[in-house]
Symmetry: D2
């Protein structure tokens, strides 16, 4: 079988960089085009010297029609609002697309415009786009033309919650998601708050009310719960390059808490028994972000506080791995009929 | 007025080190004895070369009777269970004591034995000991013989919650405290999880159910609320030397959430208007741990999520500063009739 | 005695921030004016929330004549080339000045224009300006109108070398200075190389030939050696907020290396016996940058490799402490007849 | 062709962990045995949860005869002095060996006993062992029974120096190697100096005279130079998990320095033109450790200071990559007739 020809538009951000890390070792895909508005004309390894000898491809202009011709799949890592202009051109030119922006993650227009404050250039694609968590939308991914790669916070919130919502083990009201992310979550930025001297040795909350990932989490959780729900979501920033941790608080659906924890653990383990990239921790072992660094894994655990009757659910992933680029490659595998583990299962950053 | 003569038992841990930092620049106190079981016979600056030329005092044996003779105040930084043996001897010898262990923080014996799993050598002192948060127990500190310096998590939880509990603005049920601490919170340890290579670039939850600070938080919050309450508490570890952040979720006491946030902000600002070490943030500014590094400040903010009706309260402090040693010096100031700011208000670690 | 009235122009950079840290606890100085071109109209603590409750002074325009009226001393932390315009105005208005730029560090114009590539607005002041290392120019500082605060690399190179050059114990040829600095050395910058994600977990050399501090080091070393010399200097960047380490290689003046190390150690210890801020390490103890963090100390050690006959000299300091702002306060003390330790000797950042 | 069967003895240290990272994605090798004295009976992923789902093999006892039976190659990551006891047993049992200790790196016994202060259990193997830098000993590796994997400092010193020594472009006297390593260089240690709180935000020199890698560097540089030489070597520790940087000072062989830098650059580029894992930087671009993190690359650059006539050579690598485990896999490839890039060329840790 010939390799999947993949192009990346917006290749020089951190999402692009991690896509190239994952695709470079992928046995069934090859990168055919790298496009960048800012760095067109340079080699990729001029921007990321790490990739000298690994990926020295030239960076070309972001002309979607030209790019589409050379690709079976184009992965776009473009700003919100730009994707909705570029993606329709790519689709019209006959390529399939995985998009990293927020533009196609919503089933309906309303929460998008509320959360992003932007007009949408092609709302008609919202119905077609498949939300790219393979553990939830595997079947639809196989034939998808357009995949909306999820946000990092939604991935790290929805997957830990899914079994409990799906089986009605927790109430849909009162879910609180407390999340901590690494600094690469802000992208390849030159703003002062992301400078080493201003962010090292610091912890801080940010966007503490109405962070725009809230509506995305709510959309997916509502589908799982079978009813409209809202969540309380608080993101924090920690002095690390990569990694995301969620601590989620929920109330048991049943008011009798005594039997709860084993049922909860069972739900996690059975729902994810065949998932290669979901690792359910047990026996008190906790997700650590460092265990997922450079991988496509999400680690999940659940505990129950019998005194307050609160369930605690923990999720850890790499915000650039399962939280972004590597999950996109998992979705690509699903889209092209490959085993989802292909090229991903052994990937890790070591120590 | 002559200076307060201060001795420290257990001087070579991180709490001891920070006590020496604070006391070295204190205009009205002098260190007369430094005692260490492990390093007796060495100079303090042999253990902490930072202190060469700042504090070169000899380390002596931990003989409480001898030490008491040379001190108006002894500050003990001893393991839980050891303090309850040492402190009565110090008191009998006529000195006043500030203790950093958990041994004297409880009004009753039960929660101590449950939380620490240790017998208590002198439960009769529990009634006398004053819990050392000056913002709450200022009056009692003036004449206290024995002060129990609070845990870092309780300080960073109780002070942000106090105005809301005191004025009945939040429900006593359903309080959730999500906390993140720096690695020095574990003490001067040589265990693998605290090594640089195992803890850098990592975030993790730990002791996620029944962390022993839970009962201490509950004791103080119950007093403030005027009724017995329980809290859900989850600590996390982040790759930093110093700093602690709490994000606290609570439900408004009134079911009409619309007027809430300004009342909440007012309560914070009025209750802490005259407190030199509590800085209430407003206008969306959030507590950052780095703003408190090396200081005795706690920074607090409050927000309200109108969609879910949840109040979010944020607290940041330095776990060795307001969370331990510098709060002990603030308590010392109160005990000896000094303005509480003395020697503390300008202390900071800069960048 | 009334307090020294100090103004700072360029108060919002990291040098300014550390000046405020040092001056806030100084018993004999008070800050009367803080000026900033970028942030005029705001409070200092708006820019640095750390300083809420510590320094809430307003930031005013950088009008040197107005500022001079309110000050006995103005400390300027301005870009190179800007100082040489501002400083003469300050001096004419009758205030004394400590300047942090490179503009007044040279005895002659040539090395300045070569190193900085800038014209100089008042070369006539070069002869008057006193180079602000108190250990070398204490006497001249007492009456100095204008003090040029040294660069961080020069301080960390010249002080470790001084005893050996002064006593002719090393050859003036062949000195190699290998230096590593923390990221705050680059200033409060928003450039990509100083972002957390690009600088954490990275070590790199930079400006490896002709770094502009080279000529400043050479000027001072030549004076100490009594002859014109050149040094090989290589700076590196390490993932830390604060700290600087130099490892200096030199050849013994005498060709008989056998007796060398004790003579070297003696020279260090005797030359610095009465210096409060120079700590000579012995017995194999090595300078560590963390021992100097937040202090005005420089730690120095010397070793000899008998096989290759090379002397190794080590220096560590805080690039914002003895390497910049706190050394300026030490110079201020000397200028105003105070003991140099005043307000500085106990300052440290703890752990 | 069947896969190379590889066993690892001492699998749970950081070298072992990185071997497993590299071998897990290797297309032509499979791990058949993992042995650990300390953790026998556990799964590998019990010790390193990162490897859950990647490598869940059981850890067995370190019985060399049993292990040899299951392997074409055994890689030993044992303490110095232990290897020289275990390796002969492995060889007698018919397997090939790559050893990570210092025990087989020397051609002669003397420098080993001087540097390591240990007796040697089988000095007769020193003549047979091949020093495992493929760029230097490729031919011998093909048929080697025993390969001594080099130290990290020697690899990062010898490869940058080799072209200049080989072509007589630098003097063999006066070479100074200033090196900085990350904390994983100390191994999986629980000692206080490697704890997060004691090592973060710190830079320090250590073992500043007679570090035991000095003699290993001298051995290889002497062979390249064709004459016995000594080097001045100074290691330092920086607050990072992975990475090593060398800055090497040397004197041009010719006294006419004017033509030097282009000749030097040419020598580097031509000698390493066909080396897949040596990246020569040019045009002022400098090696950065982060560009090599998680890779088997070494990045090299050279500069010349025309004023002092000193050549500066820079090398960067990952101390666990090209500095240890991944170089061992490159040697394995050479030993088993595979292209050296196999399974290694794309390996990297991304951001």
């Amino acid at each position: 079988m010939s390799k999947i020809k993949v192009g990346i538009i917006g290749a020089t951000g951190y999402v692009g960089s991690e896509l190239i890390r994952g695709l470079s070792t992928h046995p069934s895909a090859e990168i055919t085009v790298l496009a960048s508005r800012s760095f067109s004309g340079k080699k990729y390894s001029d921007i990321y010297p790490t990739y000298s000898g690994i990926c020295d491809l030239p960076l070309v202009d972001t002309d979607p029609e030209q790019i589409a011709k050379q690709c079976d799949l184009v992965i776009t890592a473009l700003p919100h609002g730009v994707s909705s202009v570029t993606v329709p051109v790519l689709l019209s030119a006959g390529t399939r697309v995985i998009d990293h922006s927020g533009d196609f993650r919503y089933r309906e227009l309303n929460p998008y415009t509320e959360s992003y404050g932007l007009p949408h250039s092609c709302p008609e694609l919202l119905a077609e786009a498949v939300y790219g968590i393979p553990e939830l939308y595997r079947e639809k991914l196989r034939s998808a033309r357009l995949v909306a790669n999820p946000g990092c916070y939604p991935t790290c919130s929805v997957l830990p919650l899914a079994p409990f919502l799906r089986h009605g083990l927790i109430r849909s009201e009162g879910i609180i998601i407390d999340a901590i992310t690494a600094i690469s979550g802000a992208g390849r930025k030159t703003e002062l708050p992301y400078s080493f001297c201003e962010s090292d040795e610091n912890l801080k909350p940010y966007s503490v009310v109405h962070h725009r990932h809230t509506t995305e989490i709510e959309q997916e959780c509502s589908i799982l719960a079978g009813k409209q729900l809202h969540v309380t979501f608080t993101p924090h920033l920690a002095p690390m390059k990569r990694g995301m941790l969620t601590t989620i608080y929920a109330v048991p659906a049943s008011s009798d808490g005594s039997f709860c924890i084993s049922r909860l653990q069972e739900a996690l383990e059975s729902d994810y028994a065949n998932e290669p990239f979901v690792r359910v921790r047990s026996g008190g072992a906790m997700p650590n972000t460092v265990h997922t660094t450079g991988t496509n894994f999400i680690d999940i655990a659940v505990e129950f506080d019998p005194i307050t009757g609160i369930i605690k659910i923990f999720g850890a992933l790499d915000n650039l791995g399962k939280g972004a680029s590597l999950q996109a490659i998992q979705a690509m595998n699903a889209m092209f009929g490959l085993p989802e583990e292909t090229g991903l299962i052994h990937l890790n950053a070591g120590l």
